[in-house]
């Protein structure tokens, strides 16, 4: 029997005894696209501890099919079919007389890989949580002034150029000192090179206000390189805030969970820094306004006080003067009144006296018919007993006198 004949028997047995297709889970140990666009690789299964390989198979995928499923897979997971990726494949078992045993990929289950990546992320996050460092970087206060920026990126990346360009040409005239700590942002060296860059920054942490880790926008490379415990722990334990802009719209990495601030793209990272500066400028304007308002208020208040004092100072003496004047007037009128009263009183008394004197005037009595009688020697006669018959008497009337002789006297 020839080798070909034996292989042909094996092929027939396999083809006859196996189902059309199987779902199989494993990890890509090797994956590449070869001549003609066909996909070739190797799939392995490791033991529970993840140390030893317990199963291995060659895999193939023909160009036509590969183009369809790899595009869909990339769209759904953000990942390419690459080495060390965990996958669930729909395969047809094949055996070729010349090439031997191989699994031909018919389809790939995106949700399995997504689930696996999520599971891995969750494990890393749980470990960070257990170690009590998951929030270390987040809890750092963001300095008010973000001016000295340590950038971790790859020098040639378009995202890095965009970031620098945006920082340097911001509309507020803000100035940033930024310095690149170069690192590989794609592939197997991501973990080591970023960690080396972070260590260099940490050594001179007091020179930097924050770290920015950015990767070219639009890059579709695998993100799971960033899902590493040592890298996440290094970010979490950076002594200054870390801003992450890995540049992936849909998916997130563990770095997004441990970084102080996460943004989607390098330009968003630049915008974050610029916004921060703009806010500071606005705050300064506010303070300036408050101070100017405060000063003018203070001056106004003093002005009012001075005006008030001026009024008080001038009005008090005037008031006083008025009161005094009024009092003087009052006194004057009281004085005048009492003088007037005194005069009136005196006048009244005088009139009274005059009336009394007038009543006593003998001439007035004589006019009314009364008369006075005198003796011949001129004494006024007041009693009949002083008269005797024959006495010569003189009677005085209002308009003249006459003499007569007493003939008789009686006392009635």
């Amino acid at each position: 029997m020839t080798l070909f004949e034996l292989n042909h028997i094996v092929r027939s047995v396999l083809e006859n005894s196996l189902d059309e297709k199987y779902w199989v889970e494993g990890e890509f140990a090797d994956a590449s696209v070869g001549f003609g666009g066909h996909f070739y690789g190797e799939m392995i299964q490791k033991d529970e501890a993840g140390r030893n390989i317990v199963a291995r198979a060659r895999i193939t995928c023909w160009a036509r099919n590969y183009n369809i499923i790899s595009l869909r897979f990339q769209k759904e997971t953000g990942e390419t079919l690459r080495r060390s990726l965990h996958v669930k494949l729909l395969v047809k078992v094949t055996f070729h007389e010349q090439y031997g045993y191989a699994l031909n990929i018919l389809d790939v289950d995106s949700s399995f890989t997504l689930g696996d990546m999520a599971k891995r992320r969750k494990e890393i996050l749980n470990r960070l949580q257990q170690d009590g460092i998951i929030n270390d970087n987040k809890e750092l206060p963001l300095p008010q002034l973000l001016k000295h920026i340590a950038v971790v990126s790859s020098a040639g990346a378009a995202g890095y150029g965009d970031f620098c360009n945006q920082l340097e040409h911001n509309e507020y005239g803000l100035f940033f000192h930024h310095h690149l700590f170069p690192a590989v942002m794609q592939g197997t060296n991501v973990e080591d090179s970023i960690m080396t860059a972070l260590a260099a920054i940490a050594d001179e942490a007091d020179c930097w206000d924050c770290v920015v880790i950015i990767r070219g926008g639009g890059a579709t490379g695998d993100l799971s390189d960033f899902d590493s415990y040592p890298l996440a722990a290094a970010v979490a334990q950076m002594p200054i805030p870390v801003i992450v802009g890995i540049g992936h719209e849909r998916d997130e990495t563990v770095l997004d969970f441990v970084a102080h601030t996460r943004v989607k793209t390098p330009t968003a990272a630049a915008a974050f820094l610029i916004d921060n500066g703009a806010q500071q400028l606005a705050r300064l304007d506010d303070i300036q306004n408050s101070i100017m308002q405060g000063v003018s208020l203070l001056c106004e208040r003093q002005q009012r006080r001075i005006e008030q004092l001026t009024v008080q100072l001038t009005s008090a003496p005037r008031q006083r003067l008025l009161t005094e004047k009024h009092q003087i007037q009052m006194l004057q009128s009281r004085f005048m009144q009492s003088v007037r009263f005194m005069f009136q009183n005196a006048k009244l008394k005088l009139e009274n006296l005059q009336a009394r004197y007038i009543a006593l005037d003998p001439a007035l009595q004589l006019k009314r018919g009364y008369s006075l009688t005198y003796t011949a020697d001129g004494r006024l006669l007041r009693s009949s007993s002083d008269m005797h018959p024959g006495d010569q008497i003189i009677t005085r009337l209002a308009d003249g006198t006459f003499k007569s002789k007493v003939e008789g006297v009686s006392d009635t």
Binding site: L145, K147, Y172, G173, H179, I287, I291, C299
Partner: protein
């Protein structure tokens, strides 16, 4: 010389305090001019920090 020791955050805190004092009218009128001058210097210091290069840092970065 003074600026070397002064940090942006310290300047900001001082400015906030000055603004509060001014607004509350806690300042004697005799001190207004001095405080205003201080505030203006601090404002300029902070604005320069945001918009101008630190020459020493620039030198270090260029090395």
């Amino acid at each position: 010389m003074e600026e070397k020791e002064l940090t942006y955050e310290a300047a900001m805190n001082r400015l906030e305090k000055l603004a509060r004092e001014m607004e509350n009218g806690d300042i004697a009128i005799d001190q207004v001019a001095a405080k205003l001058k201080e505030a203006q210097q601090l404002l300029q210091f902070c604005k320069d920090k945001l918009t101008k290069a630190d020459e020493e840092v620039q030198k270090l970065l260029e090395e």
